[in-house]
């Protein structure tokens, strides 16, 4: 890393030229690469489903707790205008994604709407990576960032379903809404936030070793599993061709600009704008696939999941996040 004139981070104390530093990759990203390589080579490596569940549960709780502890420190109150703006972003992001997929990509209405829902919604895994990225570099961001995840997860899925079905139709909205709002990422993030806020910086002490000190290690395991899952999508990728690759890279770039610009309008810190840009750029691979599969069954589930997992997730964590950080800094002017 060469600190240029616009550098705003403190240079790392140890600047020995390790391979990782030369490639400017956070070491946890290599676990993702390992997972993809092992999966693609059909290596004898499979993490049991229970491990994935446990690892993602700890990650979500850790992110929530950390935000809650910070919120307890800062008694500034909650900015509801900001929350409204971010939620509106969630409803609006699917529109350009749908237009691109339906009119440019010539995808069926259901498939385009499904992609729009996935790309408008957010990926908690990507969020965990950007939190780790900013933490490693000592860049501060708003403690309430986990609330943004919660605000952005559901609206785009609803918008996607409306794009596919219209407002009438045979969607069982009440059950769908209950399942969406009681999804594990929302329950664990909000639960962690509340517990962290109640416990405060002192009360959280005994939980620190598991949730805070081990965060990067758990993130590494999570990314290893994500790599294996992404590799399993590669055969589908070959079937869907170039459009999905272009879409999976172009949409995050476009959405990151929108997210960073909104961060600027809302007066977020550069770190906060980086998080918001990354969230806008990320595509859901948990909440959206499950909801769309039951609400829009005629959409091809492999198409959206492959784009989100095999293209956009790797793109964001390897190339995107450092780019979005620069974007946010440039916007902050």
């Amino acid at each position: 890393m060469t600190p240029g004139p616009d550098s705003h981070t403190v240079a790392p104390p140890d600047s020995s030229p390790t391979v990782s530093r030369v490639l400017q990759l956070d070491p946890v990203i290599w676990f993702f690469v390992l997972g993809v390589a092992a999966g693609a080579a059909r290596a004898d490596l499979r993490l049991p489903a229970a491990i994935y569940e446990a690892v993602s549960t700890v990650l979500l709780l850790a992110i929530g707790l950390k935000g809650g502890v910070e919120l307890a420190r800062d008694t500034g109150g909650l900015p509801f205008a900001e929350f409204g703006g971010i939620m509106l972003l969630g409803f609006l992001l699917p529109l350009p994604a749908f237009a691109l997929a339906h009119y440019v990509g010539r995808l069926e209405r259901a498939d385009a709407a499904s992609l729009a829902a996935h790309y408008g919604s957010v990926s908690v895994g990507t969020f965990a990576v950007v939190i780790g990225y900013l933490g490693t570099r000592g860049i501060a961001f708003e403690a309430r960032a986990p609330v943004w995840v919660v605000l952005l997860e559901v609206p785009a899925i609803l918008a996607g379903i409306v794009l596919a079905r219209g407002l009438s139709g045979d969607v069982r909205w009440s059950r769908l809404l209950r399942e969406l709002f009681l999804g594990r990422s929302i329950v664990l993030l909000l639960g962690g936030l509340v517990i962290g806020w109640l416990a405060g910086p002192d009360g959280i002490g005994p939980l620190r070793p598991l949730f805070f000190d081990l965060f990067k290690g758990i993130l590494a395991l999570f990314l290893l599993e994500m790599g294996l899952i992404a590799a399993a999508q590669l055969p589908t990728l070959r079937r869907h061709g170039l459009f999905i690759v272009v879409f999976g890279v172009a949409v995050p770039l476009l959405f990151a600009v929108i997210g960073a610009a909104l961060g600027r309008v809302l007066g977020l810190s550069a770190g906060g704008a980086t998080v918001l840009a990354t969230l806008a750029a990320s595509a859901s691979y948990i909440a959206a696939p499950a909801a769309i599969r039951t609400a829009v069954p005629e959409a091809n589930p492999a198409l959206s999941l492959t784009a989100a997992l095999a293209i956009t997730f790797p793109f964001n964590i390897v190339v995107g996040i450092p780019l979005y950080e620069r974007l946010a800094v440039a916007f902050a002017g």
């Binding site: 489903a49 589908t236 691979y285 696939p289 499950a290 599969r293 039951t294 069954p297 005629e298 999941l305």
Partner: protein, 100 residues
């Protein structure tokens, strides 16, 4: 030992459908079912069990033949078109007929 004949309905389908199907079964009057994680390969490709998004489940219901028929019809009409699903029926012997 006296034995009684009932129908065993086995459904193998996508894990994302679990909650919805359970609600269907309850509406149809099913009194009990067993669900296990499953993996395999079929018309819609290889399906892993290690991740809910892509996983399969195997549902077993032992009940009266008429009810098994109603469930099977409902599955065919509602889910066959868009979801990975197979089902099959067979006769089984049970010891406590009032339970099924």
């Amino acid at each position: 030992m006296e034995q009684f004949t009932r129908r065993l309905l086995t459904i193998v389908t996508e894990a994302v459908l679990e909650r919805e199907l359970v609600a269907e079964f309850e509406a149809l009057g099913v009194r009990g079912y067993t669900i296990t994680d499953a993996r395999g390969q079929g018309g819609r490709g290889r399906r892993q069990s290690d991740w809910t998004q892509e996983g399969n489940i195997r549902i077993e219901i032992v009940c009266e033949p008429a009810l098994a028929e109603r469930i099977a019809l409902k599955m065919r009409e509602r889910y066959y078109e868009h979801y990975a699903m197979i089902l099959f029926l067979q006769d089984v012997n049970v010891l406590r007929p009032d339970k099924f």
